[in-house]
Amino acid sequence: MADVAAPSSMSLSGDRRSSLHKLMQRKSTIAFLMALPLILLIFVLVAYPAGYAIYLSTLNKSMTKFVGFGNFEFLFKRATFWDIVFQSCLFAITAVIFKALIGFMVAHFVHNIPSKGQRKWRGMLLVPWVIPPAMSTLAWLWLFDPSYSAFNWIFHQFGLGSISWLGETNWARFSVILVNIWAGAPFFMIMYLAALKSVPEQLYEAASIDGATWWQRIWYVTLPMMRNIIAITALFSTIVTFANFDIVRVLTAGGPLTSTHLFATWAFKIGIESGDIPLGATVSLFMVPILAVGAAFILRDISKRGSES
């Protein structure tokens, strides 16, 4: 028996070793192993906090009792919460539209600059996006400062009156949106520039031969060719803009009254500053399902177009 059993166990372990060897040689395994550090990082820094936030949102204020969707029900009855929903939508939608428009226009300008000087312009135009927003927003705060605004000083030099940039609801909303556009437009610009560079010149030549105007070239050639990039960039920016914290926190802290609060700043206000962590977690999670559905539609559309092409 022993004589027979020994070679059999050896061949089993040999099989196992060779299948492990094969597994390790598979591209997907190597890819998985190489991505593993990142996956772990995402789990620790994204998945775990997100799961913990969901757990917190199901607790009562003193965090002693499971309340299910009770916090969401509570929020839906609060007028202030719906103000925050309105402000967040106004902030994100306005900012993303303007970032996309400005990014699109600037990308065209940069695309038309001769390649020799283009790199310099690209670098300079990226600066607002590269500076940490909390820092650049501090500079904006000095420009908008309630009492010592640099803009107002300039207005005074021309005999114009002061604007209460951060003291009046509409001006304060304008200010935070403006800073977000300033900081975010370069991202759109660089993405659109990359997309523009990948549009084959022959298409424009063909369009010109067909007598297409500048506008028709944009509408029938450039935009369709950039559609995927536009969709991805807009989706990404919408998610990030809805989650914005630093600009509002530094510039207005949500004021005057609560007129510039966004989900993140309001969640911080009620969760950390006012000691209602479950409600804060609930506020921060409110947009997740809406953005997830939006993202699913956009990504599905992109992959459909990808398979059509």
Binding site: K61, A79, S147, L166, G255, E273, S274, G275
Partner: protein, 446 residues
């Protein structure tokens, strides 16, 4: 199992060594025989003020053979608040952590009772004011020891010259250095007239109406002066009362004489307004004056810190105490209590107050007459009335006497300042009260 034979020589050697260790053990004192202690204290605005605290802690550590690790944590960017929240969630952190205003009550279930320490300190240093008791003692349990460092009264800091010039008020005569206040005429009516006169003269009062602490503290004291309570001690919403209406009417009149952008002010705005030379009065502890001493000495030498105006229900000033608290998961609670006792001795408190240039305020009644407040200047005596040496005003906190978990939200969300701004901007008073009432209902959840 193997067995080993023990020789006579080996047995004697082993037992001798063991006996020597047993006899010597109680007398062995390593450098840090009493263990380790980590403390997280508020990082002071005043340069070098941390030094006095650090020195005192080191002295205590050497005496008690405790290895102390000190972290000075800034409140800039809410770092101290975030540290407190993180430690409370993680059930791990400093043995002593400075927590201000409503935080001890928020973390009440996680804090070690300090009744034994407080009994001793009250015996030594006198009683604490009612606001310290309201904030620091819940259900008969002291949640922390009121810290000297960082505790402050946010009273008026006025420009002597501008008040005299625009409003005809001699603030030094009203609050003379080294003597009791003669401030019977310093009422909310007189305050409003002075605000109007200073506004007309081009140097308005710098009183913010944002939702940050300085703004909320001022309106809180004025609400108290009118007896305006929004939520009573039992937790009932009582906002629709005449006192609240009077307080809001007062603020509506006052706001007409304040800079147009006060709704956007934060805790730095009033300081900047004073240092720039524009303000004839702000509500702040002496930090703004200290900055003016450095950056605008001509402004600093005209500053005078004094009491609040009195209203129909008395004279109230905002008091914001820090507490030194110990988590119930702290591993060295006895050492923590010993250190707190040491830091709260009169001699230690005085060293901290001196190092802060008079900014820090001990909460105990016998510790409000240190020489530093009489001597600091320029002008000499400018801080004499800062620690409320004659109990001339009642020290208070906004939103009291509401239960802590409600009061904390009223305070941190600036409900009172928001009401004032809404009403000032033209919203009907009853609509403002309805809005606030709705917010308060939301704060009632458990």
């Amino acid at each position: 199992m193997g067995s080993r034979k023990v020789s006579r020589r080996r047995f004697v050697a082993s037992t001798t060594a063991l006996s020597a260790v047993a006899i010597a053990a109680p007398f062995v004192r390593g450098a840090y025989a009493a263990g380790k202690l980590s403390v997280g204290f508020w990082d002071h605005w005043v340069p070098n003020a941390n030094g006095a605290t650090e020195k005192l802690i080191k002295e205590w550590g050497e005496k008690e053979k405790v290895d102390v690790q000190i972290d000075f944590i800034t409140s800039q960017g809410n770092k101290l608040l975030l540290t407190t929240a993180a430690e409370a969630q993680a059930k791990s952190g400093h043995d002593i952590l400075a927590q201000n205003t409503f935080l001890p009550a928020r973390n009440a279930e996680l804090l070690v009772p300090m009744n034994d320490v407080m009994d001793q300190l009250i015996k030594d240093n006198g009683k604490v004011n009612a606001t310290v008791e309201y904030l620091g003692k819940v259900g008969g349990k002291w949640l922390g020891v009121p810290a000297t460092v960082g505790s402050q009264i946010k009273g008026p800091c006025s420009r002597i010259d501008l008040l005299k010039k625009h409003a005809g008020i001699d603030i030094q005569a009203m609050y003379p250095a080294g003597a009791e206040p003669k401030a019977d005429a310093w009422t909310l009516d007189a305050f409003l007239k002075a605000a109007e006169a200073c506004h007309k003269g081009g140097n308005p009062f710098g009183i913010g109406l944002g939702t940050t602490s300085d703004n909320v503290d001022t309106i809180g004291a004025i609400f108290h002066a009118f007896g305006a309570v929004m939520v009573d001690a039992k937790g009932d919403i009582v906002i629709k009362n005449d006192q609240v209406r009077q307080a809001l009417d007062f603020y509506k009149k006052l706001m007409a004489f304040l800079p147009a952008d006060v709704a956007a002010w934060d805790d730095a705005s009033n300081n900047k307004f004073l240092v720039s030379g524009q303000a004839s009065m702000i509500m702040n502890p002496p930090s703004a004056w200290a900055v003016a001493k450095r950056d605008a000495p001509q402004v600093a030498e005209q500053c005078w810190t004094h009491g609040f105006p009195s209203g129909p229900k008395g004279r109230y000033a905002p008091f914001l105490p820090f507490f030194w608290c110990t988590w119930n998961f702290s591993k060295n609670q006895s050492a923590a209590k010993s250190l707190m006792l040491y830091l709260s001795q009169a001699s230690s408190a005085e060293k901290m107050v001196v190092a802060s240039g008079g900014y820090d305020l001990p909460s105990f009644e016998k510790l409000t007459t240190f020489k530093v407040w009489a001597e600091e200047g320029p002008p000499k005596g400018t801080l004499y009335h800062y620690p409320n040496p004659y109990n001339h005003q009642t020290l208070s906190v906004a939103a009291a006497p509401a239960p802590h978990k409600i009061a904390e939200q009223i305070y941190n969300q600036g409900i009172q300042t928001q009401m004032a701004v809404r009403y000032f901007k033209g919203e009907p008073l009853e609509k403002t009260l309805d809005w606030a009432s709705g917010e308060l209902e939301g704060f009632m959840r458990n």
